[in-house]
């Protein structure tokens, strides 16, 4: 069989979001009739690639060619014959199942099919996919996540695509359902449809993919064919070509008293309970794929999310404090730093000093009046410690780079002298020198006898810094990688739900 002409060609694709490089040199070639896996860890640029291929966002640089053209809008992508199941399950809640199945199928003024025809075509397809009966006239609002996922998949199939893109389409499906989906797309591939698949379940990919393109930090780092697609090969490429990112065991780590105990903590309905204790001087890492509960766990420690069951207990001075609210957490000495600065950190229209002082005002006052001098002195101390390079404290916070903004926010937390610091992906969108500063700071804080819980989407960061790493899947602990075993490969294997033994060869 001669090599078929490529259907999807991507060459040296680049895309920046502000300071963050989502894609920097991504290439991919897929042909008709193949199942092509796109593999990479969190934030490796998979979803950005999918959005560019679907015409949702425009690339900064590079070549995109799908069926001979570059899609510039979702409408055009659809006309070209591209159907995409996005990671977010995109449904219109108030509309019926049937309307959602054929969303975007009709023209502006005229339907391509009557409702009767739609029901006759869409109903059986959806039922065969779901293996269950569905009321097509019911509003989506009533349906569980898995049903919504099937509806979105059925919508893509109903458009009779020539290129089908599935971005984590199995995330909300159980294993049997996933297998059914992969059987379906195997048949579609046999009919000559080009299928691009992103999945966090490596087993699915090794079993079904004809070709795999591996992304790392927004660049293509390798392409595997057929039987060469194995779990180990994929993990090796994902984690940087080698499995050498090992933790250097720091002999100086002195473990002190236990500071915080998660006692059968359940962060979501049906999630397995989490038991873990963090001691003074220890950095405990949390690793998980997106949607598996890592940010929720960190936020639960800071009293910010409602937990389902169990408790977060602060241990100290012989007494135990149960955290029920943010106020409890703050009083018990828990500091929370978020990487999502827009939503959980910054007051973008206030100055650097005001942003810094936000958590201090309660303490820095006399007769109910804020003492600006005291806040300034606090700021000066933290600015020196964190080497914040700010023109003047009165300048707007937005005049700082992402890294310096993050330093201000960490300074805000440290000014309250916490003993437990919970960090929720703190280095997101932060430049490399600042990251190094932050790493040094975290080590210093641990050495001072604080307990640190760190969630990061960068596994190397975790492996480098942490004394042990708890890997979450579906909201519960899948495995805890201890200090002596700490490699990025083990953590990554855990995140993808593979037993550590399989991943170990380093």
């Amino acid at each position: 069989m001669s090599a078929p002409a490529p259907v999807v060609t991507v060459r040296d694709l680049r895309k920046n979001f502000g300071d963050v490089q989502a894609l920097k040199g991504c290439s991919l070639t897929a042909v008709a009739g193949e199942i092509h896996a796109i593999v990479g860890e969190n934030a490796s640029g998979k979803s950005t690639l999918v959005k560019i291929l679907s015409g949702v966002i425009a690339p900064d640089q590079g070549e995109v060619n799908v069926l001979g053209q570059q899609p510039t809008s979702p409408r055009m992508a659809q006309r070209l014959g591209i159907a995409t199941v996005f990671q977010e399950i995109l449904v219109v809640e108030g509309a019926s199942v049937l309307d959602n199945l054929f969303l975007g199928h009709d023209g502006l003024l005229r339907a391509r099919m009557s409702l009767k025809e739609k029901a006759a075509v869409g109903g059986p397809l959806l039922e065969s996919l779901m293996q269950d009966t569905v009321d097509l006239s019911a509003p989506i609002g009533d349906l569980p996540l898995s049903a919504r996922q099937w509806i979105v998949i059925a919508r893509a199939l109903l458009s009779k695509p020539r290129v089908l893109i599935l971005d984590e389409a199995t995330a909300a499906l159980d294993e049997e359902s996933s297998r059914r989906l992969f059987d379906t797309i195997t048949n579609l591939a046999a009919e000559g449809i080009c299928i691009l698949v992103i999945s966090h379940r490596i087993a699915e990919l090794t079993a079904f993919a004809d070709q795999a393109t591996v992304l790392r930090d927004g660049a293509t780092v390798g392409t595997l064919q057929g039987s060469a697609i194995t779990g180990n090969a994929l993990l090796e490429l994902m984690s940087g070509g080698s499995l050498t990112t090992n933790h250097h065991v720091d002999s100086e780590t002195v473990m002190g008293q236990p500071l915080i105990r998660l006692n059968r903590l359940q962060i979501a309905p049906q999630a397995a309970p989490i038991d873990i204790t963090v001691s003074a001087g220890e950095i405990v890492g949390i690793a998980a794929l997106e949607g598996h509960g890592a940010p929720e766990l960190v936020r639960a420690i800071a009293g910010m999310t409602k937990i389902q069951a169990g408790s977060v207990e602060i241990l100290g001075d012989g007494k135990t404090t149960v955290i029920k609210s943010m106020r409890d957490a703050e009083r018990a000495g828990v500091g929370y730093v978020s990487g999502d600065r827009t939503r959980e950190g910054l007051f973008p229209n206030l100055s650097i000093l005001q942003n810094f002082g936000m958590a201090l005002y309660r303490r820095c006052k006399r007769l109910g009046v804020i003492r600006p001098g005291l806040v300034r002195r606090h700021f000066a101390r933290q600015a020196e410690r964190l080497s914040i390079t700010a023109a003047r404290p009165g300048a707007p916070i937005t005049s700082l780079s992402g890294g310096n903004q993050q330093k201000v926010l960490i300074g805000r937390v440290l000014a309250n002298s916490p003993t437990i610091i919970a960090l929720n992906d703190p280095t997101r969108g932060v430049d490399i020198p600042t990251k190094q500063d932050l790493y040094a700071l975290l080590r210093e804080l641990a050495a001072e006898g604080n307990g640190i819980v760190l969630f990061s989407t960068e596994i190397e960061e975790l492996v480098d810094l942490c004394n042990r790493i708890a890997v979450l899947r579906f909201g519960g602990i899948y495995t805890v990688v201890e200090e002596q075993d700490l490699t990025s490969a083990r953590v990554l294997a855990g995140m993808f739900g593979r037993p550590a033994a399989e991943a170990v060869n380093a």
């Binding site: 996005f86 108030g94 003024l109 269950d132 569905v134 009321d135 898995s146 159980d174 579906f474």
Partner: protein, 348 residues
């Protein structure tokens, strides 16, 4: 996770299922319908003249501008979250002023010109608002508030005092001597027209875009065009409202707008049209308008004298809050729930 079944299903899939739709409609429409019945009973005691031929005719003539304004706003509200048209009152008054001040003196008072003018101006202005909101992504509240202020002023510039003569044929419209008025047929016509419109693909697109414009866009719909279309539909009803206002006033009144806007928004909400987009039906909106109109009648029978305007404001406000409260209860009963953030629904 063996079975997946929507709790609200009464019948199995057959292609056209009416029962769930009927039930859904009943939920949406229940509040304004009950309110109307209640008010009609009260008026039976306090204002029995309403049930005479003259009384009903007068009520139809007097309520037509509000009903048509609310229909216009329904289209806009369904098409987007926060979709609202505050300009509607002053703009309807502008149509009225234009008919009396510009068309009649130039001998353009025949029905053809009047309808063409009213609907044309309505569509043109709504297109401007629709483009500002859709293309420039300006907040509907701000855009239409500007429209409200502009037309409140413009009406007074064009016509400083209520005055002028209306086209002869509109005299009959306003006569209100028998239930058999042109307004009744116009309203029935509009309602039937809406019934057809609501079943078109375009109306479905309006609901989908209003329900979730990001999803609609990613699926290939054009939210800007769809919203523009919703505004054009509104323009038709706004124009017709201007004609019925002219018939009601038998003159031109540049100051009629302000109160109308607030009444129309109140009626919209009482009628179960969601201000967060995607949900609402004309039947509810019309019943809401009738209810608001009847409340005015009831207040009128209280003989409050000078304090009437305060009391009516108070009552409209209370009705609005109660309607919102009931709406939020029935809304949650319909199962508009938030999704879990973590994918633990998977039973592994």
């Amino acid at each position: 996770m063996a079975t997946v079944r929507a709790p609200s299903s009464w019948v199995r899939r057959t292609g056209w299922e009416y029962l769930p739709r009927v039930r859904e409609a009943a939920v949406d429409v229940a509040t304004p319908a009950l309110l109307c019945v209640l008010l009609l009973i009260i008026l039976g005691f306090r204002f029995p003249q309403l049930y005479s031929s003259n009384g009903l005719a007068g009520a139809i003539t007097a309520s037509a501008p509000l009903i048509l304004s609310v229909l216009a706003m329904t289209s806009i509200a369904i098409s987007s979250p926060g979709g609202i048209d505050l300009s509607i009152g002053p703009f309807v008054a502008f149509v009225n002023v234009g008919i009396v001040h510009w068309l009649v003196p130039h001998g353009l008072g025949n029905p053809l010109y009047v309808f063409a003018y009213a609907i044309g101006v309505g569509i043109a202005f709504q297109m401007i608002q629709g483009l500002l909101i859709g293309l420039l992504r300006l907040q509907p509240v701000i855009v239409t508030l500007s429209g409200y202020l502009v037309f409140s002023g413009l009406n007074l510039v064009v016509l400083p005092n209520p005055e002028g003569t209306i086209p002869h044929w509109l005299n009959d419209w306003g006569a209100a001597t028998s239930v058999n008025t042109p307004e009744l047929y116009l309203l029935i016509g509009c309602f039937v027209l809406w019934g057809f419109f609501a079943r078109t693909t375009f109306a479905r697109n309006i609901r989908l875009v209003g329900g979730n414009d990001k999803t609609a866009w990613v699926s290939g719909l054009n939210p800007v065009l769809v919203r523009l279309g919703a505004h054009i539909v509104a323009g038709v009803f706004v124009g017709l409202a201007g004609i019925t206002l002219t018939a009601l006033l038998q003159s031109a009144d540049p100051t009629q707008g302000a109160a109308q806007t607030l009444m129309a928004v109140t009626a919209l909400v009482v009628g179960g049209v969601s201000l967060s987009g995607g949900r609402g039906r004309a039947l509810g909106a019309v019943l809401g308008a009738i209810a608001i109109f009847l409340i005015g009648y009831v207040i009128g029978t209280l003989n409050l004298g000078t304090s009437e305007s305060f009391v009516s404001g108070l009552i409209y406000g209370a009705v609005l809050i109660i309607a919102l409260f009931i709406g939020s209860i029935t809304g949650s009963a319909l199962g508009v729930r938030k999704r879990a953030a973590i994918s633990t629904e998977v039973s592994q």
